[in-house]
């Protein structure tokens, strides 16, 4: 997928999710929280399938099919991020819909790991940009 397709797909799912979220929080719809998160489930499914296929082709050919400098290890990190995001969303939906007594600390653990990793990753990228 080209960058424009990925960007527009991300934009579309985010917009849909925000619309559902606003409707739910304003009390206009009374849907289950798992249904409110449908746009994000679709996004996660596409990301996981895209990365898995990409990694399989990378393993088979020994190089990236788009000729980018993304290593297999880095793609593995991206996949781990997607899984962490999904775990966080499942825990959040469970807390909001079924288990209100669930501690928010427990729910936020995957998010904190993801956010720390993302901040570290961007910082690493920042250092590499400045070195060039």
């Amino acid at each position: 997928m080209a960058v424009i397709h990925r960007a527009l797909f991300t934009w579309f799912t985010t917009l849909d999710f925000l619309i559902f979220l606003v409707l739910k929080l304003d009390g206009k719809i009374n849907w289950n929280w798992f249904l409110i998160f449908i746009p994000l489930w679709v996004f996660d499914a596409v990301v996981v399938i895209y990365l898995t296929v990409n990694m399989i082709i990378h393993c088979k050919n020994g190089y990236d099919r788009n000729h980018s400098d993304l290593s297999l290890r880095r793609k593995g990190w991206f996949l781990a991020c997607a899984v962490l995001k999904m775990v966080f969303q499942v825990l959040l939906c469970l807390k909001l819909q079924y288990v209100q007594s669930l501690s928010l600390y427990f729910v936020m653990i995957p998010f904190w790991i993801l956010a720390t990793g993302a901040a570290g990753d961007i910082f690493k990228g920042l250092v590499l940009i400045n070195r060039r």
């Binding site: 960058v3 424009i4 990925r6 960007a7 527009l8 991300t10 934009w11 985010t14 917009l15 925000l18 979220l21 606003v22 929080l25 304003d26 990301v47 895209y50 980018s68 993304l70 991206f78 991020c81 997607a82 995001k85 501690s103 928010l104 600390y105 936020m108 998010f111 904190w112 956010a115 720390t116 993302a118 901040a119 990753d121 961007i122 910082f123 990228g125 920042l126 940009i129």
Partner: protein, 134 residues
Amino acid sequence: MFFTLQELVRWLRMTAFELWLHAVSVLVFSILAVLKYEQDLAVSWWVVFIPLFTCDGLSAYFCVIVLIRQYMEHDIKVASVRFLTSGLSLVLLFLFKLLLCQRLSAQRDISVSEVMGPMFVLLQIIMVRACRVH
């Protein structure tokens, strides 16, 4: 996850430093917000939002520095276009955070759709930027 850092910079028209600032501020804010929600931190929502407002302040400062440098190195047109596009995104983000803070601290009776208003405008800008990515 779905984008490399270079792709994100090209799409969102933000520098890597600004993206890093936002990531760190959201991380610190989430920790403070959870502490406040679980009643382990007895402070107002304004204090919890300090990391986010600090990030906006630093981004605005960075934006002005870039404006001055671009004006000195290029011309006023390039500098002002960059300043206006980044400034607009920053103002919309700041407005969203301000309205959210006011709603959470029950200072104003505003609906969630009003709070999300600036985000919907920002999303349209991001969509236009996505269409221009190649």
